[in-house]
Amino acid sequence: MLEQVISYGSERIITIYHKGFDKDVGNRHKKVSEKLGRFQLVFEEKVVPDEEPAKYMLNGWSIKGLLGNANALNPYGESACAFLEQIVSIHKPNCLFTEDKEYKLKVDVPTFQKICSFSKKYTGIDFSKTPMSFGNVLFYSSFETNLHALKEEGIIVKGNHACDLIIVHFKQNDMVVCTRMIEATGFPPGWEIEVLSNVSWNNHDIEIYDDENLVYFYKGITYLRNIVMNMTVLQRGHDIPLKKLGKAFRVEDQGSSTKTTIGEKRPIIQEKLERSEVSIRRKLNEEEMNQDTLFVKPNEIQKAMDFIQKELKKTSKQIWLFDSYFSDRNGLHYSLDWIRIFAFLHADEKNIVFFNNPSKPERNPVTAKEFSYLTKEDPTIRMKKQKDKSLGIRFYQTKQYIHDRFLFILDKEEFVTGISIGTSLNSLDSNYYCIHKLYKGSARHIFDELKQFSNLPNIEDISSV
């Protein structure tokens, strides 16, 4: 058996065995190491005497079955289906995971991604799709099959393993147009079988059985019949020197394009039908509004508030609002409305970060302490909440002016989502602006950057209610 082991920081994170490659590899011993952070990531491969899966089942149980090529745990890609016996272990590598009610990542996300791409490069398995497979032992056998197209008429199937039955469904796009079942009992290894179709087809499914077991399957195989190349020849672009907007602006040449087709050309009418279908579907698709962006006109404040309320309705642990003009005295009542809404939300912490322009005292902006006082005295809040109980609202008066308005929601797992509002919260009904949703890495990075303005030394004053 061929043994492949990946270790991180001298601890094994995955062990893989392949059957049937002993002769091919011989006594070649491969070892590759890469330094990742403080530890070494090592891949080692060599032939070892046959192992029994039963040996590893002390701490877990085994799952057996055949994997198709799309499956992340199939290392052979498209050339072969893999028969996998996976011994699942409940003990996960300490260097990667912490164990509690849930297995959590011990390393940071970029490091884990580098480990996964290293594993993919040398073992062919993408563990970022199945992170819980780390710590398991995998046993593979392969059933390699080669397929070629026989012009328009059919396909040729070649294989080295025993097989009884081959089923091929020839399809035209999604429609099955012809099925062939071939009995192949008794063919010697290295067999080559022609499967022909009497109807025109452009892709096919195939299943190969040995002794009532499925050994190979693949859906939707297509063969390269023609290549369409669009080539553009460009001249050298040139740089336009700029004074303020950077050093220079690069202008590229438009160039002239030509289209070349290699291989068989499809009939013109068929191409015409397909092109028209794609273009009309695209037009229909374009009419749909993007749910992530909302455009608001003057006097549409309810529309804007509905959008924002949908965000605030999510179960959250922390809410952060960044609006530099929150302290504008002319819009004080808008700000108080917002404070009222915040007072009744269920989040543990509600934070409002705003700016006071120290160089323009004549505008008399509202300070953090004043906000606290106004909040405590507000009649609507007083009616429903006990006087001395904390509302969980914190006002941060910051020294840094942030132009855009942001609202971030952190849920109990600290995942960040948010929205960016194009106008100040005290002018939601009188402007043309957009509200954008922020997700994933973007939301997290923007939040991490802006949160710094709520820390010393960027703070002028903090006040809690």
Binding site: F21, R28, K30, P75, G77, S79, G124, S142
Partner: protein, 416 residues
């Protein structure tokens, strides 16, 4: 001739050189502005115009003269002698020289050449010259070259000044081609070759130095296969000329430092199909030899054919005996170069008949020790390749690259 006409001249030159208007439009404008007046009268009127310039514009005289002369010559390129005569008559040559100097030096932001050449990707600048000679925009800037020719014919000292301060190298590069009837004497070339900051200028100098040598060698190549009586005398005559040229080259080279000498000689031999044996002898000279070794190790040796040339140089017979044992180092350096080709996947990309033949020639010339070393290094690399069936299934992109390398190594090992 008035200010408007002068502005029109400036505009024509600007639009022509910046390719804002096409050839026909420019010609029409030139015809219109000059009319039917002969050049002699135009020059007289221009001289008058210059004399009546106000005080604060007097310093623009050289610029105006240069622009005027170039546009006038564009009207009729064959009138160069007439224009020269009349410019001289009205004592405008020194102004013309002044204007050209401004143009060529590149300090004036509004009147200069701004050309970037594509020699950046060539480590061997001589090869760049050899490949692109004749394609340095000669016809696009023809009026500039004609005016430069006028200066050359009138005051060759001043022409040398212009040549040395040619910031954009436009004039220098076009001197390399045969279009200009300007002969550059050797003592002008030496300062070019001494410019260690700019290796393109050094190689331009060397190119000009060896111009005559190259043309005689070309003739010899044509005559060489012929054996009959009078053709033999012709061959002997040519060989004699070559010997003379080599002496001239040797004299000039002696004035340069050793690193430059090695670099220029090596560039020449890599790029030319035929070169004099004397060049190789000089490179093997103990003084130059360590520079030669350095030259082999930099990026100039890019293909197996280049390696072949290096071997031919190394194996040139030299008379002094002390140099014999030091050749080992050169052979071993070459072996390392070949191994690096394989290791870095450069230089040899496939194994076809061409590569096979070249490698066979290389093997004939390598001594046994070097061949053994090469064999060892190649075998070592081969062991570490990812080319088994498991690699094909699991690590296909690594397999694909290493499979090609394996084919090349096997082709080489078959001959070692």
């Amino acid at each position: 001739m008035n200010r408007d006409t002068m502005n029109e001249f400036k505009s024509i030159l600007h639009d022509k050189w910046n390719k804002i208007q096409n050839y026909n439009t420019i010609n029409k404008r030139i015809k219109k502005v000059f009319g039917r007046k002969p050049s002699a009268i135009w020059i007289k009127e221009f001289s008058n115009f210059l004399d009546h310039l106000p005080e604060e514009e007097r310093r623009r005289k050289p610029l105006y003269t240069a622009v005027f002369a170039m546009v006038l010559l564009k009207r009729n390129l064959d009138e160069i002698d007439i224009v020269r005569l009349h410019l001289k008559k009205h004592r405008l040559i020194s102004f013309l020289y002044g204007g050209l100097t401004i143009l060529v030096k590149g300090n004036d932001s509004k009147f200069r050449f701004n050309i970037s050449w594509s020699d950046g990707s060539f480590e061997n600048k001589y090869e760049f010259l050899r490949r692109f000679v004749g394609e340095f925009y000669y016809w696009d800037y023809i009026e500039f070259f004609l005016v430069a020719e006028i200066i050359y014919k009138e005051e060759s000292e001043k022409f040398q000044e212009i040549l040395m301060s040619d910031q954009s190298k436009l004039l220098l590069l076009n001197l390399c081609s045969f279009d200009l009837p300007i002969h550059i004497p050797t003592h002008w070339i030496i300062p070019l070759m001494k410019d260690k900051q700019d290796s393109l200028r050094q190689n331009i100098g060397y190119y000009l130095l060896t111009k005559k040598l190259r043309s005689i060698i070309q003739q010899l190549i044509i005559w060489k296969p012929l054996q009959s009586g009078e053709k033999k005398t012709k061959k002997v005559e040519l060989l004699g000329q070559i010997k003379k040229e080599i002496l001239i080259v040797e004299d000039s080279m002696k004035q340069l430092d050793e690193q430059t000498q090695a670099s220029l000689l090596f560039n020449y031999m890599l790029s030319e199909t035929h070169w004099p044996r004397d060049f190789a002898k000089w490179l093997l000279n103990p003084k130059l030899r360590k520079w030669f070794m350095q030259e082999i190790q930099n990026k100039k040796v890019r293909t197996l054919k280049n390696v072949m040339v290096c071997l031919q140089i190394i194996q040139t017979r030299v008379t002094t005996s002390e140099q014999l044992h030091r050749k080992e180092n050169l052979y071993l350096t070459l072996v390392d170069v070949i191994t690096n080709f394989i290791r870095e996947r450069q230089g040899v990309y496939q194994w076809t008949e061409d590569e096979e033949w070249t490698f066979e020639q290389i093997c004939h010339r390598l001594p046994a020790i070097s061949k053994a070393k090469l064999k060892r290094q190649l075998s070592l690399i081969k062991k570490g390749l990812w080319t088994s069936r498991i690699d094909e299934l699991v690590r296909f992109d690594m397999y694909l690259k290493d499979k090609v390398t394996q084919t090349i190594i096997e082709g080489m090992l078959a001959q070692l």
